[in-house]
Amino acid sequence: MAEEREKIIVPGPAGYNPQPAMFLGVDLPPPGKALLYGQVVDEEEAMREAAKAMLTRKNPTIFPGPLVLWGWNAGAMEKAKAVLELAEEIPNCRIIPMPDYRPKYPKIDPEAEINPNHPNLTILHNKIEACIFVGVHCHYANLSLRMIRAGTNCFTIALCAEMGHEDAMVSLRDVHADEIRRFKEVLIEVRNQLGIEWTPTPPPENPSLPKEEFQTISPWDFGEYASLLIPRRGEVVEETE
């Protein structure tokens, strides 16, 4: 049983313009440790609380960022696979991507994506009460986590490849594919303890995106990004760096 600690960072709404966690005295955890409600704890303890939130709160959702979505190196591809494996184990989990950080105007499609300029819109529209950030660059994750804490009641979990995020309710650091799979195992254990029966099921397709036919898909289907996908003359792409 973990000792009772003051909860500094809890689900909001925290107010119009709340102080960032760093100003409240929350420090990033050292290697091997995690943050739970703004306090440094063992990773296992933080993982269990994160798992409980994803299993018991409404509309759990994973928000993968560019470092997972764009398969630009072997690590990213493996991490993306691990994220899908994790999503399959969370009952009724959805995946809503944060593909880039550009402002989406005149209006974001909150069912299709989340954006750091107004992440609260996606959270509120989909009534998401627990979410995981993974593969989002730290700067943009911090902006989003603060806005979500300010204006929503969402329980935020950051699976960070670097040093972590003070404004998330749960923040794990140095998280790559292996650590995501470890979190998945903890989540399955907590799910069983809670007596939740679930058969691993892939998350639903993103309703706002056209269906991708992998047999017939062409680089030109990617519009302005097509040039990024077409190998240069004579180039054989087996693996990127």
Partner: protein, 393 residues
């Protein structure tokens, strides 16, 4: 540039700064900047000359000729220099620049945008008078202009600090949880053109190269699609931004500034140095004034007065807790400064509960030196010691 790069072994910053054997040299502050750059694995240096900075960047230019720095050029003026630095760093390079007084103010619009752009870079500032009438003499009022933009500011007392702060500056500013610029100001001429003893690690060691992918923002090299990820980022699209993202963005920069404190402890042993912590009268100073304060503390000790010194190395992040703790039993705090506005005295007053004990001064400016006797006069007043003034005609 030399076709041949000097043989240098890459070592971790911890080893280079804290463990490598050091050899004592007698060099100027400008040379100390250059010695740091020699070991910092710098990709590019860009600057526009201005006294008293010119000698430093001349020496860095020599390093380019010798192959220690990969690229180097003189920009058209400071605004261009500081803007080009932002571009180079955003493109993945490790960069260094330096400037002084009016040059700093000319480049200031670009410089204060660096933190928001998440630009990890080191900027040397060789302080100089900025206000009319024109003068090239030392005066550090320009540091006041650097304090409210999110920059990390490490004020160097002497040539040794110049070397250590500059080298550590690269390691601190490139930490993923920090990733904002480090400015290393020191007094022009008093430090830059005067010689002092500096303990230097071997010159055949250097920092690891910058890894631009270990960053809280995407690099601009288009390797992470979509390629427009930075060009259209909200950082340059204010008309499309919500007020809220600007608010949390500012919070993020100041959070990053606070996060730098643990790295200042890690690489530099902490943001302050305390001499005689049990004293009731303290001299609190930074930069060159700390050197004079150090002398005043020594004089006072010789005269049997219980006086301490708090040297503040990190002006941003300001060591609020540390200063408050160190001054908790103080009866008087003397803050000597090389400027008329007293920016350090204001900082000290803001973080202690009993700001009335802070003595505003002594202050010198316009290039004046800061005689130890001026500080001693305030110490005598605080200690209730009456000294007869002798007038020699």
């Amino acid at each position: 540039m030399s076709d041949q790069r000097p043989e240098q072994k890459v070592v971790e910053p911890e080893y280079l700064l804290k463990e490598a054997p050091r050899e004592k040299k007698f060099i100027t502050g400008s040379q100390a900047f250059a010695e740091a750059i020699k070991r910092a694995n710098v990709d590019i240096a860009i600057a526009y000359p201005i006294t008293p900075q010119s000698e430093t960047m001349h020496l860095v230019g020599d390093l380019y000729a010798q192959g220690y720095v990969k690229d180097y050029y003189r920009a058209e003026e400071e605004y261009g220099a500081m803007s080009a630095i932002a571009g180079a760093v955003r493109g993945g390079a490790r960069a260094f620049s330096a400037t002084s007084g009016p040059g700093l103010l000319r480049g200031l619009e670009a410089i204060v945008s660096w933190p928001g752009h998440r630009i990890p870079v080191v900027l040397g500032v060789m302080t100089r008078v900025v206000n009319a009438p024109l003068s090239i003499q030392p005066d550090n009022v320009e540091i006041a202009y650097l304090l409210h933009s999110g920059l990390i500011v490490l004020h160097a007392e002497n040539q040794q600090d110049v070397f250590d702060f500059t080298l550590a500056g690269f390691a601190i500013s490139e930490k993923v949880d920090v990733y904002i610029p480090v400015v290393v100001p020191t007094e022009g001429f008093f430090v830059t053109h005067a010689k002092g003893y500096v303990e230097l690690p071997p010159e055949d060691l250097k920092l690891p190269p910058r890894d631009p992918y270990k960053a809280p923002v995407p690099p601009t090299d288009c390797e992470i699609p979509p390629a427009r990820i930075q060009r259209d980022a909200p950082v340059q699209k204010s008309n499309f931004m919500s007020y809220l993202i600007h608010a949390v963005w500012q919070q993020e920069i100041w959070s990053a500034n606070k996060r730098a404190m643990k790295w200042i402890y890690h690489y530099l042993g902490g943001p302050i140095e305390i001499v005689n912590p049990d004293a009731e009268i303290f001299v609190v100073a930074s930069g060159c004034a700390a050197a004079q304060g150090r002398e005043a503390q020594r004089y006072a000790e010789q005269e049997g007065l219980n006086v301490g010194l708090i040297k503040i190395k990190s002006i941003r992040p300001f060591p609020e807790k540390e200063v408050r703790e160190a001054l908790k039993n103080a009866k008087a705090v003397i803050v000597p400064e090389h400027n008329i506005v007293g920016w350090l005295a204001k900082e000290v007053k803001a973080v202690i509960p009993n700001s009335g004990i802070v003595v505003d001064g002594p202050r010198v400016y316009g290039g004046m030196t800061l005689p130890v006797e001026l500080i001693m006069e305030e110490i005598y007043k605080a200690a209730g010691v009456k000294k007869e003034k002798k007038t020699v005609v």
